[in-house]
Protein backbone atom coordinates (compact mmCIF):
# COMPACT_ATOMS: atom_id res chain seq x y z
CA UNK A 1 0.00 0.00 0.00
CA UNK A 2 1.36 3.37 -0.93
CA UNK A 3 1.34 6.38 1.31
CA UNK A 4 -1.80 8.36 0.57
CA UNK A 5 -4.08 5.49 -0.37
CA UNK A 6 -7.05 4.81 1.89
CA UNK A 7 -7.56 1.24 2.98
CA UNK A 8 -10.37 -0.80 1.48
CA UNK A 9 -13.58 -1.33 3.39
CA UNK A 10 -14.62 -4.83 4.30
CA UNK A 11 -18.07 -6.37 4.32
CA UNK A 12 -19.39 -5.53 7.76
CA UNK A 13 -22.76 -7.15 8.18
CA UNK A 14 -23.74 -5.14 11.27
CA UNK A 15 -23.18 -1.98 9.32
CA UNK A 16 -24.45 -2.80 5.85
CA UNK A 17 -27.23 -5.22 6.76
CA UNK A 18 -28.37 -3.97 10.16
CA UNK A 19 -31.96 -3.96 8.91
CA UNK A 20 -31.89 -7.76 8.61
CA UNK A 21 -31.85 -7.98 12.40
CA UNK A 22 -34.91 -5.77 12.75
CA UNK A 23 -36.57 -7.70 9.98
CA UNK A 24 -35.77 -10.91 11.83
CA UNK A 25 -37.57 -9.65 14.91
CA UNK A 26 -40.73 -8.83 13.01
CA UNK A 27 -40.59 -11.98 10.94
CA UNK A 28 -40.29 -14.03 14.10
CA UNK A 29 -43.34 -12.28 15.53
CA UNK A 30 -45.19 -12.88 12.31
CA UNK A 31 -44.25 -16.52 12.29
CA UNK A 32 -45.41 -16.89 15.89
CA UNK A 33 -48.73 -15.34 14.90
CA UNK A 34 -49.20 -18.12 12.37
CA UNK A 35 -47.98 -20.85 14.70
CA UNK A 36 -50.56 -23.16 16.16
CA UNK A 37 -48.95 -25.07 18.97
CA UNK A 38 -49.45 -28.67 20.03
CA UNK A 39 -50.07 -29.12 23.76
CA UNK A 40 -48.35 -31.98 25.57
CA UNK A 41 -50.08 -35.33 25.19
CA UNK A 42 -49.28 -39.01 25.13
CA UNK A 43 -48.57 -40.93 21.98
CA UNK A 44 -48.13 -44.59 22.77
CA UNK A 45 -45.55 -44.86 25.50
CA UNK A 46 -44.12 -41.41 24.84
CA UNK A 47 -45.20 -37.92 25.84
CA UNK A 48 -44.89 -34.89 23.60
CA UNK A 49 -42.83 -32.58 25.78
CA UNK A 50 -41.60 -30.04 23.22
CA UNK A 51 -43.62 -29.32 20.12
CA UNK A 52 -42.00 -28.06 16.93
CA UNK A 53 -42.36 -24.43 17.99
CA UNK A 54 -40.51 -25.10 21.21
CA UNK A 55 -37.73 -26.90 19.43
CA UNK A 56 -37.37 -24.27 16.79
CA UNK A 57 -37.02 -21.47 19.31
CA UNK A 58 -34.70 -23.53 21.53
CA UNK A 59 -32.26 -24.50 18.79
CA UNK A 60 -32.24 -21.13 17.14
CA UNK A 61 -31.45 -19.69 20.55
CA UNK A 62 -28.83 -22.32 21.32
CA UNK A 63 -27.11 -22.17 17.93
CA UNK A 64 -27.24 -18.42 17.91
CA UNK A 65 -25.83 -18.15 21.42
CA UNK A 66 -22.97 -20.51 20.72
CA UNK A 67 -21.92 -18.49 17.71
CA UNK A 68 -22.39 -15.26 19.64
CA UNK A 69 -20.27 -16.50 22.53
CA UNK A 70 -17.54 -17.85 20.27
CA UNK A 71 -17.32 -14.67 18.24
CA UNK A 72 -17.73 -12.41 21.25
CA UNK A 73 -14.80 -14.00 23.05
CA UNK A 74 -12.86 -14.00 19.82
CA UNK A 75 -13.24 -10.23 19.66
CA UNK A 76 -12.34 -9.75 23.30
CA UNK A 77 -14.13 -7.69 25.92
CA UNK A 78 -13.60 -6.60 29.55
CA UNK A 79 -10.71 -8.69 30.86
CA UNK A 80 -10.82 -11.22 28.01
CA UNK A 81 -8.21 -10.70 25.30
CA UNK A 82 -8.91 -10.42 21.59
CA UNK A 83 -7.83 -13.54 19.72
CA UNK A 84 -7.98 -12.33 16.15
CA UNK A 85 -5.67 -9.88 14.53
CA UNK A 86 -6.13 -7.12 12.05
CA UNK A 87 -9.34 -5.89 10.53
CA UNK A 88 -9.88 -9.14 8.64
CA UNK A 89 -9.92 -11.08 11.86
CA UNK A 90 -12.18 -8.58 13.58
CA UNK A 91 -14.55 -8.50 10.62
CA UNK A 92 -14.85 -12.28 10.55
CA UNK A 93 -15.81 -12.32 14.21
CA UNK A 94 -18.23 -9.43 13.84
CA UNK A 95 -19.91 -11.10 10.89
CA UNK A 96 -20.18 -14.37 12.79
CA UNK A 97 -21.63 -12.36 15.66
CA UNK A 98 -24.20 -10.94 13.27
CA UNK A 99 -25.22 -14.40 12.10
CA UNK A 100 -25.43 -15.58 15.69
CA UNK A 101 -27.47 -12.52 16.58
CA UNK A 102 -29.93 -13.18 13.74
CA UNK A 103 -30.37 -16.79 14.82
CA UNK A 104 -30.71 -15.87 18.48
CA UNK A 105 -33.14 -13.03 17.81
CA UNK A 106 -35.31 -15.23 15.70
CA UNK A 107 -35.44 -17.94 18.35
CA UNK A 108 -35.94 -15.55 21.23
CA UNK A 109 -38.58 -13.37 19.61
CA UNK A 110 -40.41 -16.41 18.25
CA UNK A 111 -40.54 -17.65 21.82
CA UNK A 112 -41.80 -14.26 23.01
CA UNK A 113 -44.52 -14.23 20.38
CA UNK A 114 -45.61 -17.73 21.26
CA UNK A 115 -45.62 -16.91 24.94
CA UNK A 116 -47.76 -13.80 24.39
CA UNK A 117 -50.27 -16.10 22.75
CA UNK A 118 -50.15 -18.70 25.52
CA UNK A 119 -49.39 -17.12 28.88
CA UNK A 120 -49.90 -20.38 30.72
CA UNK A 121 -46.78 -21.71 29.12
CA UNK A 122 -44.98 -18.83 30.77
CA UNK A 123 -46.50 -19.77 34.12
CA UNK A 124 -45.28 -23.33 33.94
CA UNK A 125 -41.72 -22.03 33.42
CA UNK A 126 -41.79 -19.57 36.29
CA UNK A 127 -40.74 -20.59 39.80
CA UNK A 128 -43.35 -20.90 42.53
CA UNK A 129 -43.19 -20.15 46.22
CA UNK A 130 -41.09 -22.96 47.62
CA UNK A 131 -39.08 -23.60 44.48
CA UNK A 132 -35.79 -23.01 46.22
CA UNK A 133 -36.61 -25.46 48.98
CA UNK A 134 -37.75 -28.07 46.50
CA UNK A 135 -34.64 -27.65 44.39
CA UNK A 136 -32.39 -28.13 47.42
CA UNK A 137 -34.29 -31.21 48.48
CA UNK A 138 -34.13 -32.58 44.93
CA UNK A 139 -30.34 -32.48 44.76
CA UNK A 140 -29.80 -33.40 48.38
CA UNK A 141 -31.90 -36.47 47.82
CA UNK A 142 -29.86 -37.33 44.75
CA UNK A 143 -26.72 -37.00 46.80
CA UNK A 144 -28.22 -39.21 49.47
CA UNK A 145 -28.04 -36.48 52.09
CA UNK A 146 -31.75 -36.38 52.80
CA UNK A 147 -34.80 -38.57 52.55
CA UNK A 148 -37.26 -35.66 52.39
CA UNK A 149 -39.59 -35.31 49.47
CA UNK A 150 -40.05 -32.32 47.25
CA UNK A 151 -43.40 -31.35 45.79
CA UNK A 152 -44.01 -33.54 42.78
CA UNK A 153 -42.29 -31.75 39.89
CA UNK A 154 -44.41 -30.45 37.04
CA UNK A 155 -43.31 -30.29 33.41
CA UNK A 156 -40.27 -28.35 34.65
CA UNK A 157 -38.85 -29.19 38.05
CA UNK A 158 -38.03 -26.60 40.68
CA UNK A 159 -34.41 -26.00 39.69
CA UNK A 160 -35.33 -25.65 36.02
CA UNK A 161 -37.97 -23.09 36.93
CA UNK A 162 -35.53 -21.18 39.07
CA UNK A 163 -32.95 -21.15 36.27
CA UNK A 164 -35.58 -19.84 33.89
CA UNK A 165 -35.60 -16.41 35.57
CA UNK A 166 -31.96 -15.39 35.21
CA UNK A 167 -31.57 -17.10 31.85
CA UNK A 168 -34.56 -15.32 30.41
CA UNK A 169 -33.63 -12.00 31.95
CA UNK A 170 -30.09 -12.28 30.68
CA UNK A 171 -31.28 -13.26 27.23
CA UNK A 172 -33.52 -10.22 27.35
CA UNK A 173 -30.63 -7.96 28.42
CA UNK A 174 -28.41 -9.38 25.72
CA UNK A 175 -31.06 -8.98 23.04
CA UNK A 176 -32.12 -5.49 24.01
CA UNK A 177 -28.60 -4.16 24.56
CA UNK A 178 -27.52 -5.85 21.38
CA UNK A 179 -30.27 -4.08 19.46
CA UNK A 180 -29.23 -0.80 21.05
CA UNK A 181 -25.65 -1.40 19.93
CA UNK A 182 -26.85 -2.22 16.43
CA UNK A 183 -28.95 0.92 16.45
CA UNK A 184 -25.79 2.93 16.99
CA UNK A 185 -24.90 1.96 13.42
CA UNK A 186 -28.04 3.68 12.16
CA UNK A 187 -29.02 6.52 14.45
CA UNK A 188 -27.20 8.87 16.74
CA UNK A 189 -27.65 7.56 20.25
CA UNK A 190 -26.87 9.39 23.46
CA UNK A 191 -23.45 8.41 24.77
CA UNK A 192 -24.83 7.36 28.14
CA UNK A 193 -27.15 4.88 26.46
CA UNK A 194 -24.35 3.38 24.39
CA UNK A 195 -22.06 3.11 27.40
CA UNK A 196 -24.79 1.53 29.47
CA UNK A 197 -25.71 -0.90 26.73
CA UNK A 198 -22.09 -1.98 26.25
CA UNK A 199 -21.48 -2.39 29.96
CA UNK A 200 -24.64 -4.46 30.41
CA UNK A 201 -23.94 -6.48 27.29
CA UNK A 202 -20.42 -7.32 28.50
CA UNK A 203 -21.21 -8.23 32.09
CA UNK A 204 -24.40 -10.12 31.16
CA UNK A 205 -22.28 -12.23 28.83
CA UNK A 206 -20.13 -13.41 31.70
CA UNK A 207 -23.08 -14.35 33.90
CA UNK A 208 -24.91 -15.91 31.00
CA UNK A 209 -21.95 -18.04 29.98
CA UNK A 210 -21.62 -19.34 33.52
CA UNK A 211 -25.31 -20.22 33.66
CA UNK A 212 -25.23 -21.75 30.21
CA UNK A 213 -22.43 -24.05 31.26
CA UNK A 214 -24.62 -25.27 34.09
CA UNK A 215 -27.59 -25.58 31.73
CA UNK A 216 -25.66 -27.66 29.23
CA UNK A 217 -24.27 -29.90 31.94
CA UNK A 218 -27.59 -30.45 33.66
CA UNK A 219 -29.70 -30.70 30.53
CA UNK A 220 -27.42 -32.63 28.21
CA UNK A 221 -24.27 -33.96 29.77
CA UNK A 222 -25.38 -35.79 32.90
CA UNK A 223 -26.76 -39.25 32.02
CA UNK A 224 -30.10 -38.73 33.69
CA UNK A 225 -30.74 -35.78 31.37
CA UNK A 226 -30.17 -37.66 28.14
CA UNK A 227 -33.87 -38.43 27.65
CA UNK A 228 -34.50 -34.69 27.98
CA UNK A 229 -31.87 -33.86 25.41
CA UNK A 230 -33.43 -36.39 23.11
CA UNK A 231 -36.83 -34.80 23.67
CA UNK A 232 -35.48 -31.45 22.56
CA UNK A 233 -34.63 -33.11 19.26
CA UNK A 234 -37.53 -35.46 18.70
CA UNK A 235 -40.06 -33.72 20.88
CA UNK A 236 -40.89 -36.87 22.87
CA UNK A 237 -39.87 -38.22 26.21
CA UNK A 238 -40.74 -41.70 27.54
CA UNK A 239 -43.81 -41.94 29.77
CA UNK A 240 -41.81 -43.88 32.31
CA UNK A 241 -39.36 -41.02 32.50
CA UNK A 242 -42.19 -38.58 33.07
CA UNK A 243 -43.77 -40.78 35.72
CA UNK A 244 -40.48 -41.09 37.56
CA UNK A 245 -38.99 -37.59 37.22
CA UNK A 246 -42.04 -35.36 36.69
CA UNK A 247 -44.89 -37.09 38.55
CA UNK A 248 -46.75 -33.82 39.02
CA UNK A 249 -46.84 -33.30 35.31
CA UNK A 250 -47.90 -36.85 34.70
CA UNK A 251 -50.81 -36.33 37.07
CA UNK A 252 -51.78 -33.18 35.15
CA UNK A 253 -51.63 -34.97 31.84
CA UNK A 254 -53.84 -37.73 33.18
CA UNK A 255 -56.35 -35.28 34.61
CA UNK A 256 -56.47 -33.42 31.31
CA UNK A 257 -57.21 -36.68 29.59
CA UNK A 258 -54.31 -36.38 27.19
CA UNK A 259 -52.69 -39.41 28.72
CA UNK A 260 -54.13 -42.65 30.05
CA UNK A 261 -52.96 -44.93 32.76
CA UNK A 262 -51.12 -47.88 31.21
CA UNK A 263 -53.66 -50.38 32.46
CA UNK A 264 -56.51 -48.38 30.88
CA UNK A 265 -54.56 -48.20 27.68
CA UNK A 266 -54.00 -51.91 27.78
CA UNK A 267 -57.68 -52.47 28.33
CA UNK A 268 -58.59 -50.23 25.42
CA UNK A 269 -56.05 -51.97 23.27
CA UNK A 270 -57.43 -55.35 24.06
CA UNK A 271 -60.98 -54.08 23.48
CA UNK A 272 -60.03 -52.70 20.14
CA UNK A 273 -58.32 -55.89 19.24
CA UNK A 274 -61.43 -57.83 20.05
CA UNK A 275 -63.59 -55.44 18.02
CA UNK A 276 -61.23 -55.73 15.10
CA UNK A 277 -61.35 -59.44 15.39
CA UNK A 278 -65.10 -59.23 15.22
Amino acid sequence: MKQGEAGHSNLFLFDHYWWILFLTIFLALLYSAYTYRKDPHCVGDKVLRHDLAARISHWFNAGGMLILIFSGFGLGFLMFPRHVSGTDGAQLMFNLHFIGAALFLFGAVYWVGNTILAPKRFDEHMPYLGSIKDAVIHYARMAGITKKNERPPGKYDASERLAFVPLTLLALFMGVTGIIKVSAHVWHLPKGLVTFATWTHDWSTIVLVILLVFHVILAAVVPWAWPLLKSMITGYVPVEFVKHHHPGWYKELLSQGVCELPENREQKKNAKGEEDAK
Binding site: M1, Q3, G4, E5, A6, G7, H8, S9, N10, F12, F14, D15, H16, W18, W19, F22, L23, I25, F26, L27, A28, L29, L30, S32, A33, Y34, Y36, R37, K38, D39, H41, L75, G76, F77, P81, R82, G86, T87, A90, Q91, F94, G113, I116, L117, A118, P119, K181, A184, H185, V186, H188, K191, V194, T195, T198
Partner: protein
Protein backbone atom coordinates in the same frame (compact mmCIF):
# COMPACT_ATOMS: atom_id res chain seq x y z
CA UNK B 1 -53.85 -30.05 18.08
CA UNK B 2 -54.46 -26.34 18.32
CA UNK B 3 -54.74 -24.60 21.64
CA UNK B 4 -58.44 -24.12 22.25
CA UNK B 5 -58.26 -21.11 24.51
CA UNK B 6 -56.75 -18.04 23.09
CA UNK B 7 -57.33 -14.92 25.10
CA UNK B 8 -58.75 -11.87 23.53
CA UNK B 9 -57.38 -8.41 23.94
CA UNK B 10 -59.38 -5.26 23.48
CA UNK B 11 -61.49 -6.33 20.55
CA UNK B 12 -58.58 -7.85 18.68
CA UNK B 13 -57.30 -11.21 19.65
CA UNK B 14 -53.60 -11.51 20.37
CA UNK B 15 -52.84 -13.49 17.29
CA UNK B 16 -54.26 -10.82 15.04
CA UNK B 17 -52.48 -8.16 17.06
CA UNK B 18 -49.18 -9.93 16.57
CA UNK B 19 -49.79 -10.35 12.86
CA UNK B 20 -50.56 -6.67 12.48
CA UNK B 21 -47.58 -5.56 14.54
CA UNK B 22 -45.22 -7.86 12.72
CA UNK B 23 -46.44 -6.85 9.29
CA UNK B 24 -46.11 -3.21 10.17
CA UNK B 25 -42.64 -3.85 11.51
CA UNK B 26 -41.55 -5.60 8.35
CA UNK B 27 -42.82 -2.73 6.27
CA UNK B 28 -41.16 -0.12 8.45
CA UNK B 29 -37.87 -1.97 8.42
CA UNK B 30 -37.93 -2.26 4.66
CA UNK B 31 -38.65 1.42 4.26
CA UNK B 32 -36.02 2.39 6.82
CA UNK B 33 -33.39 0.25 5.17
CA UNK B 34 -34.12 1.75 1.78
CA UNK B 35 -33.98 5.25 3.19
CA UNK B 36 -30.78 4.75 5.09
CA UNK B 37 -28.75 3.19 2.33
CA UNK B 38 -25.10 4.20 2.31
CA UNK B 39 -24.50 7.36 0.38
CA UNK B 40 -27.63 9.01 1.62
CA UNK B 41 -25.94 10.43 4.67
CA UNK B 42 -23.50 13.03 3.48
CA UNK B 43 -21.68 15.10 6.01
CA UNK B 44 -19.14 17.82 5.47
CA UNK B 45 -16.50 17.67 8.17
CA UNK B 46 -15.37 20.97 9.59
CA UNK B 47 -11.60 21.30 9.34
CA UNK B 48 -9.46 20.66 12.35
CA UNK B 49 -8.19 23.82 13.98
CA UNK B 50 -4.73 22.36 14.46
CA UNK B 51 -2.22 19.99 12.85
CA UNK B 52 1.07 18.41 13.75
CA UNK B 53 3.87 18.74 11.25
CA UNK B 54 7.30 17.15 11.54
CA UNK B 55 10.83 17.41 10.25
CA UNK B 56 12.19 13.97 9.49
CA UNK B 57 15.60 15.45 8.90
CA UNK B 58 15.76 16.78 12.44
CA UNK B 59 14.35 14.06 14.70
CA UNK B 60 16.88 12.56 17.12
CA UNK B 61 15.08 9.25 17.36
CA UNK B 62 14.92 9.50 21.16
CA UNK B 63 11.25 8.40 21.33
CA UNK B 64 10.61 10.92 24.12
CA UNK B 65 7.54 12.13 22.24
CA UNK B 66 6.20 8.58 22.13
CA UNK B 67 6.73 7.87 25.81
CA UNK B 68 5.31 11.24 26.82
CA UNK B 69 2.27 10.77 24.59
CA UNK B 70 1.40 7.48 26.20
CA UNK B 71 2.12 8.91 29.66
CA UNK B 72 -0.18 11.91 29.37
CA UNK B 73 -2.99 9.82 27.88
CA UNK B 74 -2.66 6.55 29.78
CA UNK B 75 -0.40 7.20 32.76
CA UNK B 76 2.15 4.61 31.62
CA UNK B 77 5.12 4.60 29.28
CA UNK B 78 4.44 2.46 26.23
CA UNK B 79 5.53 2.75 22.62
CA UNK B 80 2.59 0.68 21.42
CA UNK B 81 0.12 3.09 23.01
CA UNK B 82 1.74 6.17 21.56
CA UNK B 83 -0.30 8.14 19.04
CA UNK B 84 2.86 9.35 17.34
CA UNK B 85 5.19 6.71 16.01
CA UNK B 86 8.87 7.15 15.23
CA UNK B 87 10.50 4.38 13.28
CA UNK B 88 14.23 4.19 12.86
CA UNK B 89 16.97 2.07 11.42
CA UNK B 90 20.40 3.02 12.71
CA UNK B 91 22.05 1.18 9.82
CA UNK B 92 20.34 3.34 7.21
CA UNK B 93 21.71 6.57 5.85
CA UNK B 94 20.41 10.01 6.72
CA UNK B 95 17.67 11.13 6.12
CA UNK B 96 15.99 7.77 5.41
CA UNK B 97 16.93 6.29 8.77
CA UNK B 98 13.95 7.88 10.50
CA UNK B 99 10.27 8.06 9.68
CA UNK B 100 7.89 10.10 11.80
CA UNK B 101 4.23 9.16 11.69
CA UNK B 102 1.70 11.69 12.95
CA UNK B 103 -2.03 11.80 12.43
CA UNK B 104 -2.87 14.27 9.68
CA UNK B 105 -6.24 15.33 11.08
CA UNK B 106 -7.33 14.83 7.46
CA UNK B 107 -9.74 17.25 5.87
CA UNK B 108 -12.10 14.48 4.75
CA UNK B 109 -10.89 11.94 7.27
CA UNK B 110 -11.31 8.42 5.96
CA UNK B 111 -11.19 7.07 9.50
CA UNK B 112 -14.19 9.19 10.51
CA UNK B 113 -16.06 8.12 7.40
CA UNK B 114 -15.23 4.49 8.04
CA UNK B 115 -16.54 4.39 11.60
CA UNK B 116 -19.96 2.74 11.69
CA UNK B 117 -20.93 3.95 15.16
CA UNK B 118 -19.69 7.55 15.38
CA UNK B 119 -16.91 6.57 17.75
CA UNK B 120 -14.30 8.09 15.44
CA UNK B 121 -15.82 11.49 15.00
CA UNK B 122 -15.15 15.18 14.63
CA UNK B 123 -15.19 16.73 18.07
CA UNK B 124 -16.57 20.21 17.57
CA UNK B 125 -16.01 21.06 21.23
CA UNK B 126 -12.27 20.56 20.86
CA UNK B 127 -11.24 22.31 17.72
CA UNK B 128 -12.76 19.75 15.34
CA UNK B 129 -10.13 17.14 16.15
CA UNK B 130 -10.76 13.75 14.61
CA UNK B 131 -10.79 11.55 17.68
CA UNK B 132 -12.12 8.22 18.90
CA UNK B 133 -14.59 8.03 21.74
CA UNK B 134 -13.64 4.79 23.54
CA UNK B 135 -17.13 4.46 25.02
CA UNK B 136 -18.63 4.19 21.55
CA UNK B 137 -15.86 2.24 19.88
CA UNK B 138 -16.77 -1.35 19.13
CA UNK B 139 -13.28 -2.35 18.05
CA UNK B 140 -14.11 -3.17 14.43
CA UNK B 141 -10.80 -1.47 13.39
CA UNK B 142 -12.21 -0.31 10.07
CA UNK B 143 -10.84 3.11 10.90
CA UNK B 144 -7.34 1.70 11.12
CA UNK B 145 -7.78 0.05 7.74
CA UNK B 146 -9.15 3.24 6.28
CA UNK B 147 -6.18 5.38 7.24
CA UNK B 148 -4.26 6.18 4.07
CA UNK B 149 -0.87 6.47 5.78
CA UNK B 150 1.64 3.85 6.75
CA UNK B 151 2.13 2.94 9.49
CA UNK B 152 -1.53 3.47 10.21
CA UNK B 153 -2.03 6.50 12.41
CA UNK B 154 -4.56 4.83 14.71
CA UNK B 155 -3.61 2.32 17.37
CA UNK B 156 -5.26 -0.74 18.78
CA UNK B 157 -5.39 -0.56 22.57
CA UNK B 158 -5.34 -4.17 23.80
CA UNK B 159 -6.33 -3.17 27.33
CA UNK B 160 -9.55 -1.34 26.46
CA UNK B 161 -10.04 -3.24 23.19
CA UNK B 162 -10.82 -0.03 21.43
CA UNK B 163 -9.00 2.10 18.91
CA UNK B 164 -7.29 5.34 19.78
CA UNK B 165 -5.61 8.11 17.88
CA UNK B 166 -4.00 11.46 18.21
CA UNK B 167 -6.36 14.00 19.68
CA UNK B 168 -3.83 16.83 19.87
CA UNK B 169 -3.77 16.15 23.61
CA UNK B 170 -7.42 17.12 24.12
CA UNK B 171 -8.05 14.22 26.47
CA UNK B 172 -4.92 13.92 28.59
CA UNK B 173 -5.71 13.23 32.22
CA UNK B 174 -2.00 13.17 33.16
CA UNK B 175 -1.08 16.49 31.61
CA UNK B 176 -1.37 19.30 34.08
CA UNK B 177 -1.88 21.89 31.39
CA UNK B 178 -4.80 22.27 29.04
CA UNK B 179 -4.34 20.25 25.86
CA UNK B 180 -6.14 20.23 22.55
CA UNK B 181 -6.12 22.87 19.80
CA UNK B 182 -5.19 26.15 21.39
CA UNK B 183 -3.53 24.33 24.27
CA UNK B 184 -0.45 22.20 24.77
CA UNK B 185 0.61 19.33 22.58
CA UNK B 186 2.90 17.17 24.73
CA UNK B 187 5.03 15.84 21.91
CA UNK B 188 5.71 19.34 20.64
CA UNK B 189 6.55 20.59 24.10
CA UNK B 190 8.79 17.74 25.10
CA UNK B 191 10.76 17.26 21.88
CA UNK B 192 14.35 18.17 22.78
CA UNK B 193 15.20 19.51 19.32
CA UNK B 194 11.88 20.89 18.09
CA UNK B 195 11.31 18.30 15.38
CA UNK B 196 7.53 18.51 15.77
CA UNK B 197 5.46 21.67 15.40
CA UNK B 198 1.82 22.57 15.84
CA UNK B 199 0.28 24.67 13.07
CA UNK B 200 -3.18 26.04 12.45
CA UNK B 201 -3.02 26.11 8.67
CA UNK B 202 -4.04 22.85 7.09
CA UNK B 203 -1.25 21.31 5.04
CA UNK B 204 -2.01 20.59 1.39
CA UNK B 205 -4.16 17.46 1.42
CA UNK B 206 -3.10 16.53 -2.09
CA UNK B 207 0.60 16.56 -1.35
CA UNK B 208 1.86 13.43 0.46
CA UNK B 209 4.96 15.35 1.59
CA UNK B 210 3.04 18.28 3.04
CA UNK B 211 3.30 17.21 6.66
CA UNK B 212 7.10 17.06 6.54
CA UNK B 213 8.37 20.60 6.82
CA UNK B 214 11.69 22.22 7.45
CA UNK B 215 12.05 23.00 11.14
CA UNK B 216 15.82 23.36 10.98
CA UNK B 217 17.17 26.87 11.05
CA UNK B 218 20.40 28.80 11.20
CA UNK B 219 20.96 27.72 14.78
CA UNK B 220 20.78 24.11 13.67
CA UNK B 221 23.19 24.85 10.86
CA UNK B 222 25.59 26.46 13.31
CA UNK B 223 25.79 23.10 15.07
CA UNK B 224 27.12 21.59 11.84
CA UNK B 225 23.99 19.96 10.41
CA UNK B 226 22.27 20.95 7.20
CA UNK B 227 19.19 23.15 7.25
CA UNK B 228 18.17 22.37 3.70
CA UNK B 229 14.56 21.23 3.27
CA UNK B 230 13.70 17.60 2.61
CA UNK B 231 10.83 16.01 0.76
CA UNK B 232 9.54 13.03 2.70
CA UNK B 233 6.21 11.32 2.31
CA UNK B 234 4.10 10.40 5.29
Amino acid sequence: MPNSQEPKYGGMDRRTFLKTLAAAGVAATGAGAAFMLPGTNLMVMPNSKGYLVVDMGKCMGCDTCMMTCSLVHHGEASLSLSRIQIQQDSFQTWPNDIHMAVCHQCEDAPCVNACPVEADHVDVLFGNIRTVDPDRCIGCTQCIDACPWLPKRLQWNPETKTVQKCDLCANTPYLREQGGPGGTQSCVKVCPVGAIAYVEKMPDQNDPTAYNVNLRDKAWKSLGMTDEPLKREG
